[in-house]
């Protein structure tokens, strides 16, 4: 009887369970102590949550670009963080012009719309060019080959834009209308953050409807399922792939402008860190899965904003915000121990197995 029990228990599983359990225990004890201690008011918690939601929305939009491409090509498009940088960096010059001429304060809606359109167009174009030059010729090579080209394309784009626009930091103009607050009782939200959350939400909804309801979306799902069969059914696989890159690029361009409305510094390496974070979010949600990317992005954003205060403050750890990334990646490990294919990754695992 005992020997049977020990046969059934895999020591690796036990270890994993212990690691997961101790992470959960630290989180629970830390959160409880912080809340008992009561250092932060509920208004402050709300501020942190909104801050995290806004950042999470941006991560989610970028993560969608990774996940869409992965879903169709099984390729991690490492140049996506530069797609994210290219559009908003180009749109900076328009934004700066509109800001200095006073147009942006006089007509904020039209001004912002122009900035968004330009950024999305440029990012889209860059994404399509990268696909055409760096990925399409290698589509039938071993999977490692396009991965390496993706890294090469990423470096090329970084230094191309450095050469084009200069190595210095540039700063997006401030939009006065957005620098105000809506008050809801004791809570308050900055217009910028509200805009980011609403815009990110609308874009995700739009993408979801597009993929689920439109003909092209159906074709995308078909190609994602099986490229060869889809081609036999009369779907132009190349076109679908180009559309996927266009969608990912446009979302990244919009995400970039939203990001810059919150954190206005733009320069040629600005895509690197949000790109890595969004990739993490995509893995967390289950890469290849569209709702998963949205969920993963939101989750990561909120954990980064709230996590250090909530989990570590009560444990008396000094300077917890330095551990922000450590917390985010520990949680990634935690999630992957219990759900190796990501939060919503199950369907994918069945389908592609």
């Amino acid at each position: 009887m005992l020997s049977k029990l020990s046969d059934r228990i895999n020591p690796m599983d036990v270890m994993m369970f212990l690691i997961g359990g101790s992470i959960a225990a630290v989180i629970l004890i830390g959160s409880a102590l912080t809340l008992i201690h009561g250092k932060y008011s509920s208004a402050q918690w709300f501020d942190l949550l909104i801050s995290g939601l806004a950042l999470g929305g941006v991560y989610a939009l970028i993560a969608l670009g990774y996940t869409l491409v992965y879903g169709i090509l099984r390729l991690i498009n490492f140049a996506h963080s530069e797609v994210f940088m290219s559009g908003p960096f180009t749109a900076y010059f328009l934004a700066n012009y509109l800001g200095q001429s006073g147009f942006l304060d006089a007509n904020p809606v039209v001004g912002l719309a122009l900035i968004f359109i330009l950024a999305m167009l440029v990012s889209m174009t860059v994404a399509v060019i990268v696909e055409r030059i760096a990925y399409r010729p290698l589509r039938h090579s071993p999977r490692l080959v396009p991965l390496i080209t993706a890294i090469g394309a990423s470096f090329f784009l970084q230094y191309f834009f450095r050469g084009l626009y200069g190595p210095n930091i540039k700063v997006y103009p401030e939009i006065k209308v957005l620098d105000a607050y809506i008050h809801l009782g004791i809570f308050r939200i900055q217009y910028t953050q509200l805009l980011v959350i609403v815009a990110a939400g609308l874009m995700m909804l739009g993408l979801h409807l597009f993929v689920q309801r439109s003909r092209v979306g159906k074709a995308m799902r078909a190609v994602s399922e099986d490229k060869d069969t889809a081609a036999l059914m009369g779907i132009n696989v190349d076109n679908v792939i180009v559309i996927t890159f266009m969608l990912g690029g446009a979302l990244a361009g919009a995400a970039g402008v939203l990001y810059l409305l919150m954190f206005p510094q733009v320069y040629f390496l600005m895509g690197f860190i949000p790109g890595i974070k969004a990739f993490t979010a995509a893995v967390l949600g289950g890469i290849g899965n569209i709702p998963g990317a949205m969920l993963g992005g939101m989750f990561l954003g909120i954990i980064e904003a709230v996590g250090p205060s909530l989990f570590l403050d009560g444990l008396g750890i000094p300077a917890p915000y330095q551990l922000k990334d450590a917390i985010a990646f520990t949680l990634l490990v935690f999630v992957l121990i219990f759900r190796p294919s990501g939060i919503l990754g199950e369907k994918l695992a069945e389908k592609k197995a």
Binding site: K39, Y40, A43, Q44, D47, L48, S51, L55, R162, P167, N168, I169, K170, V171, E174, Q190, Y259, M262, F263, P264, Q265, Y267, F268, L269, F272, I273, E304, A305, V306, P308, S309, D313, P318, A319, P320, Y321, Q322, K324, D325
Partner: protein
């Protein structure tokens, strides 16, 4: 079959290439030897006895002085400012030393440890380099100093100020600096806050870099000694953009004053977001020389009006400083100085040129021989009046005559994109009365 022929062709080509490469080194040997014997019976040819070896510079060839500066990314203004300082010193020397043109170029060190290591490795591999000016950031100097030292070279940093770099236990023989030591800067900042602003509750933020950590520690030690309290010491990561969470945490300890001696991107993000956090609306901010740049003010936006910095005291600089600033603004077509360390870089270049003149052995045909150890010794023995003050090195590489002052940005300067050039307070100077909106 075709493959084999191709392979053969490639082999032949490779052999030809190797032969071609080898030829120039092998061939001249027999021809030059007799030529030397006949045309130059000459004074006993130069023999290098220097224990680190010598650098030989042929007639007309340039004297190569390399820099390791941040020339791209968010801290580019810091590096560009020091590059300008070095270039202006070359201009003032007429572009020549001992009849040889001066070549001043170098590597981007990126203000990161990896960047510093890469730049130093590249510079150390270049056999024409005589001496090095750099690095900008202390994080770059930590890995760069041993590499430069082991290559027998000597580097002079115009702006790496961390106390750790000239700590007797860690100091590398090839590292000197014309920048001040942050033990001085941190003390001046603490003294200003406690005695002039009369604040007793301060919070600090560092970014994990040796520069910021050293400065925050120096500030906190001095502030506590004076009688103040450090209510919160926070840390962030390089690359962080969302500062609201960390600022919310600081707000919970209700400080009067926030000290963040970090770099442009993260410092700019803090300045940009600080007033959006409840409880931080009135907190007075101060940074240090690393963010005393135009780019930081751009990134921080209007919240930087009325903010303080500690930085080298321009008003204590020598008589040549006004001319240097004029030349700087004219040559680079700028209204404002990009950063605070151009004069330190100018002095570093002059130190090197003076040391080269002192130790170089010149053949009648103009060939220069510079002993590396001799050059290093000459740099340590420097005793000259520079723009930044009297430059005299101690055995651990601190050469500066450190004068630190406090600056404040006025709304007028902000609207014209200018940086303050006149300090509002310096140790021992007249008292300052706090004005939140100058």
């Amino acid at each position: 079959m075709k493959g084999k022929i191709l392979l053969l062709l490639a082999l032949v080509a490779a052999v030809a290439l190797i032969a071609a490469c080898a030829a120039p080194t092998a061939a001249p040997a027999p021809t030059t030897a007799p030529a030397q014997a006949t045309t130059a019976p000459a004074p006993a040819a130069f023999k290098c006895t220097d224990k680190l070896g010598c650098i030989d510079i042929a007639p007309g060839a340039p004297v190569h002085i390399a820099y390791m500066f941040v020339t791209s990314g968010d801290n580019a203004s810091l590096g560009t400012d020091t590059r300008y300082g070095g270039e202006l010193a070359v201009d003032d020397a007429g572009g020549k030393v001992l009849g040889h043109p001066i070549q001043f170029d170098g590597q981007d060190s990126g203000c990161t440890a990896e960047g510093g290591q890469n730049a130093a490795t590249k510079v150390a591999a270049d056999k024409t380099v005589v001496a090095v000016i750099g690095t900008n950031c202390s994080s770059e100097s930590v890995p760069a100093a041993p590499i430069i030292t082991n290559a027998g070279l000597t580097m002079i940093s115009p702006s790496a100020t961390s106390p750790a770099l000239t700590d007797p236990a860690k100091h590398q023989a090839g590292f000197l600096r014309t920048a001040h030591n942050d033990k001085v800067q941190g003390a001046v900042a603490a003294q200003f806050v406690y005695t002039q602003l009369k604040f007793t509750k301060a919070a600090t933020i560092h970014d994990g870099s040796p520069y910021a950590q050293g400065l925050v520690t120096a500030f906190a030690d001095n502030f506590k000694q004076l009688g103040g309290t450090i209510v919160d010491q926070e840390a962030i990561n390089v690359g962080d953009k969302d500062m609201k969470p960390v600022l919310t945490r600081i707000a919970a300890t209700s400080p009067q004053f926030l000290y963040y001696p970090i770099f442009v991107a993260e410092g700019g993000a803090i300045a940009n977001q600080v007033r959006d956090v409840p409880g931080m609306e009135k907190v007075v901010m101060m940074g240090a020389d690393g963010i005393f740049t135009e780019d930081f003010v751009k990134a921080g936006g209007k919240n930087t009006i009325g903010m303080f910095w500690s930085s080298p005291d321009f008003s204590s600089f020598g008589s040549g400083y006004q001319a240097l600033v004029a030349a700087y603004k004219k040559k680079y077509n700028t209204q404002t100085l990009l950063g605070p360390f151009h004069a330190h870089s100018y002095d570093a270049m002059n130190m090197i040129l003076a040391a080269i003149k002192k130790v170089a052995v010149q053949d009648p045909d103009g060939t220069l021989h510079i002993g590396k150890q001799a050059l290093r010794d000459a740099l340590y023995a420097t005793d000259m009046q520079g723009i930044t003050g009297h430059i005299k090195c101690d055995q651990y590489g601190d050469c500066a005559d450190p004068h630190i002052a406090v600056y404040q940005l006025t709304s007028d300067q902000f609207s014209k994109n200018l940086m303050p050039e006149t300090p509002i307070w310096k140790p021992g100077g007249p008292n300052y009365t706090y004005n939140p909106n100058p």
